[in-house]
């Protein structure tokens, strides 16, 4: 397990952070390092500790143990109002009794900024989120998307060194979410602020973040770029959590420096690299459904080739998904993009099919 980040230093560092509530360990020995200008996502299902971690960064929770270093300064004991960090709340938390202008100006006034400067800054922020025309409105007079932009403007107004986003798109409906994702990244990049965001939505994390930390039960299981997380998961949980995947348990049977073979219940899987393990050790093979080819006719390959019967077909527009049952009852999910491979259209229920994958495609997970 990659418990610790490979970067030894960074703009924001957490060192062996622990948060306990009574008997529950919400954050368990988390050490991560975030570089300046990054958009870093904490990804996990609800209750995995990502929100608690974010609240520790914001200052709403005091860690039970560990340090939080921002630019080398330990801020773990600082109250929220003394941190150069601002947060965009999941519910936006706009002040209902203040209009949009005053919401954005709120933090600046607390700093004691001169009124003329506040005016310039607020106008600049409203311009950035394209809400200048709504300055005199109250929050409840805006739509969800507009409220989200006000929340963003308000949290950016003080030019924080670190911006925290708590489920930034969670309160929006699906159609709006896709458009807002890119808009949000665009604004953040134009401002050049370092961001830590929390999300349970892997698609959101993949499109917005430069790096992702996958969390479960208070621990960070893997940190990496979206591509690393997807293509090279380092453990079973991450492989299973991100996207769909087919997992096969087996044992290492051949291990050379440029190739290896793993015996699973249904046959032998060939891999184009060495494992560097001992023969007979238990391993898990993970293969993404879109890396698997499917055909009714026998293809011209002789490794990693299996067969089965089509049990279910799901049509999803841009792709179709097949559930294939192998001889021993084990099922495998295969997806095929529609339109490019017309020959697959004739695959139907109960057809006998062949499926196979390249030697480079499986991911080998050690236990």
């Amino acid at each position: 397990m990659n418990q610790h980040d490979s970067h030894p230093s960074g703009f924001l560092l957490t060192e062996n952070l622990v948060k306990r509530f009574d008997d529950v360990v919400a954050v368990d020995d988390v050490s991560i390092s975030i570089q300046k200008g990054e958009i870093f996502a904490l990804l996990g299902s609800s209750g995995c500790g990502k929100s608690t971690l974010l609240r520790i960064l914001a200052g709403f929770e005091k860690p039970t143990a560990g340090r939080v270093l921002l630019n080398g300064l330990d801020i773990a004991s600082f109250p929220p109002y003394e941190r150069p960090i601002n947060m965009m709340f999941q519910s936006y938390a706009l002040f209902p009794h203040l209009n949009i202008w005053d919401n954005v100006a709120f933090g600046l006034k607390r700093e004691g900024m001169p009124p003329a400067q506040i005016k310039t800054r607020v106008e600049e922020m409203l311009e950035l989120v394209q809400l200048t025309a709504y300055a005199k409105r109250k929050p409840h007079q805006l739509s969800g998307g507009q409220q989200q932009r006000v929340a963003l403007a308000r949290s950016l107004a003080k030019k924080p060194q670190l911006l925290l986003l708590d489920e930034p798109l969670g309160a929006l409906d699906k159609k709006l979410r896709q458009r807002t994702q890119f808009e949000l990244v665009h604004i953040i990049e134009s401002v050049g602020v370092t961001v830590v965001m929390v999300t349970h939505d892997q698609e959101e994390a993949m499109t917005m973040a430069s790096r992702i930390a996958v969390m479960s039960h208070g621990r960070v299981l893997q940190v990496g770029t979206p591509q690393e997380i997807y293509e090279c998961p380092t453990n079973r949980f991450v492989a299973d959590f991100i996207g769909n995947i087919n997992l096969f348990d087996g044992q290492l049977s051949v291990d050379e420096h440029d190739r290896s073979e793993i015996t699973i219940d249904q046959g032998v899987v060939h891999i184009d690299h060495g494992i560097g393990g001992s023969i007979g050790m238990p391993l898990t093979i993970a293969v993404r459904p879109e890396k698997i080819y499917i055909s009714k006719t026998r293809p011209n390959v002789n490794v990693n080739l299996f067969s089965g019967k089509v049990r279910e077909i799901g049509y999803f527009g841009s792709y179709s998904s097949f559930i294939v049952e192998m001889q021993d009852g084990r099922t495998v999910v295969v997806t095929e993009p529609n339109g490019s491979r017309l020959e697959n259209i004739d695959i139907t229920w109960d057809d006998r099919v062949f499926f196979w994958w390249d030697e480079a495609d499986p991911v080998v997970l050690t236990h």
């Binding site: 109002y81 709340f89 002040f95 709120f106 007079q141 739509s143 969800g144």
Partner: protein, 298 residues
């Protein structure tokens, strides 16, 4: 022929039973008020027959120095009670809603709501005994407006707590965190964010406790001293002696003032509510349009 028409009547009654019931109970609730208003304009001291329109009882009311004096004392007592109760009730509501853990919490929550179920007679009696004991020991306070205010505030605080706590419970706490995140110290959070958001409940609590105090007879009867009589006490004294249309006149003024105020307030809030809904709808429509435009150009 006769049976069918009575059957039709029965069916009509069945269909409109609900409306009929509402009407009868509302008549029951409002009959006495209408009675007071009508007979305050009666020309004689009669209860049963309206003998002619007159405003003599209103003149009599204004010339009755006891009623007028009682009114001003009650007003003073009610204003102070409303204010004190609302302040104390806000404190207590904060403790109830926000401080989940401290020693004596269950005792505290029991004490806060106890005056609500305690008969006023017992509140009045036990406070009287306290006042007498304290006066016995240190020679203060004389029974009078001060002791009445203390008694009313004990009861008023319990009501104010209920009203403010309800609002505090439904308030979104993340706006307080947001304020802190944007640089507010705890006291600033309270005055800049929490207070403006619970303000409607403070106004409601003030109005409720003002009314309670302005209306109270029992506690005042126990705690007032010689020569100090609130308006309800004066009315209570008159009422036990018999019919006095001056009181009808006083009642009419009160009923008209209060109902005008409440109806105006309801209409205003309803209008504001409707305006808010309209604005929100417009905002959503605008958003949808902008999404469509974006999709169209993309």
């Amino acid at each position: 022929m006769k049976t069918s028409s009575s059957q039709a009547l029965l069916r009509l009654l069945q269909a409109h039973f609900g409306k009929l019931w509402l009407l009868v109970v509302y008549l029951f609730l409002y009959g006495p008020l209408l009675f007071l208003i009508l007979f305050s304009f009666n020309s004689t001291r009669q209860d049963a027959v309206f003998t002619g329109f007159s405003t003599r009882w209103y003149e009599a009311l204004l010339n009755d120095s006891r009623l007028v004096g009682g009114f001003f004392l009650s007003l003073k007592v009610a204003v102070i009670t409303g204010t004190l109760s609302t302040i104390l009730g806000t404190f207590a509501a904060f403790v109830l809603v926000r401080y989940q853990r401290f020693r004596g919490r269950s005792l505290f929550s029991g004490l806060v709501s106890a005056p609500l179920v305690m008969p006023e007679v017992i509140i009045g009696l036990s406070l009287l005994l306290l006042m007498v004991a304290v006066q016995h020991a240190i020679g203060w306070p004389e029974r009078g407006a001060t002791t009445i205010v203390l008694g009313h505030t004990l009861l008023g605080m319990a009501y104010a707590t209920v009203v403010v706590a309800a609002r505090l419970r439904e308030m979104d706490r993340t706006i307080e965190e947001a304020a802190m995140d944007l640089g507010c110290r705890p006291l600033q959070v309270f005055f800049l964010v929490t207070l403006p958001n619970i303000l409607p409940s403070l106004v409601a609590a003030w109005m409720l406790t003002f009314t309670l105090s302005f209306d109270d007879v029992v506690i005042s009867e126990f705690l007032s001293g010689p020569g100090v009589t609130t308006l309800p006490q004066v009315i209570f004294g008159y009422a036990r002696r018999g019919v006095n249309p001056s009181i009808y006149a006083a009642a009419t003024i009160l009923i008209l003032t209060v109902s005008t105020g409440i109806i105006a307030y309801s209409i205003l809030t309803m209008r504001a509510q409707r305006r808010r809904e309209r604005d929100a709808q417009a905002a959503v429509l605008a958003e949808i349009r902008s999404v469509e435009e974006n999709v169209g150009t993309a």
